[in-house]
Amino acid sequence: MIPQWFKNYFFSLRAFYQTSSLLLPWLIAAFSVCFIYGLAGGLFLAPADYQQGDAFRIIYVHVPAALTAMAVYSIMAMSGLMVLVFRMKIAAICMTCSAQIGVWFTFLALVTGSIWGKPMWGTWWIWDARLTSVLVLFFLYLGFIILHSVLPNNSGRDRACAILAVVGVINLPVIHYSVIWWNTLHQGPTISKFARPSIAPAMLHPLLAMIAAFLLFYGIILLTRMRNEILLREIKSQWIKEEFSHELA
């Protein structure tokens, strides 16, 4: 069903470890460029919003954090699906490492949103559809991490966690459409695939750069964490011995 060359490459922890070390410097370089431009653009270059004044600058970390939190979850769920269908070890590692990063982005989205809500809505928190569904996302991540830490280390653990990740994906469309389905305090989407963005280019470009920076940051931390996990899982294998022989000599 799966071609052998594909299996040899994508199912191999060794291939992943070696390829990722070539990829990481490029990711770090791209991240630095996007992050520095995004910070400068968001904090200094973009004009203040005519309604929200300078408080709107919170958008440059809030929206990327929320988007990344959802993107990380979808990657986690897709990895979970691959764990269930193909029993891929690398997918199980990707799933677990993603959860540990995604929970931070969700936390950041919730807290920065709260800090934005205080001056704009007059309240830190409200039980509104968007806020509540993102809180559910946070608890899904936490639930995954707790489940992963209490189960014994075997393939059953990976499958149980994968089921949780896949089932929880129902929450993603709820988050996305919550501002449309329900009457909510949260403002509507700023950028949409299907319509022209309701934001000026001088404000939009730093936002896109920040979104790219956050996704790249996730990529960097994900690869680093996955590489650590691979080292621990493969500690007894021959290729690790070869990889590290020069360090010991």
Binding site: L43, G53, F105, I115, L231, L232, E247, L248
Partner: protein, 55 residues
């Protein structure tokens, strides 16, 4: 835009700067945690390889 305007953030300084400081903190925590893990993993491998070499 002068330095005062930047620091003042139109009266929203406390909110805006807290948000950005928090973001840097979260990024820092993630970098620190992943690098600490890396050191630990490499130390474990070093120990394991040393023990197999001796025996």
């Amino acid at each position: 835009m002068n330095l005062h305007d930047i620091l003042h953030m139109g009266g929203y300084a406390a909110y805006v700067w807290t948000t950005y400081a928090l973001t840097l903190l979260v990024f820092g925590i993630n970098i620190f945690a992943s690098l600490r893990e890396k050191t630990r993993a490499k130390n474990k491998i070093r120990q394991f390889l040393m023990s197999t070499n001796e025996s």
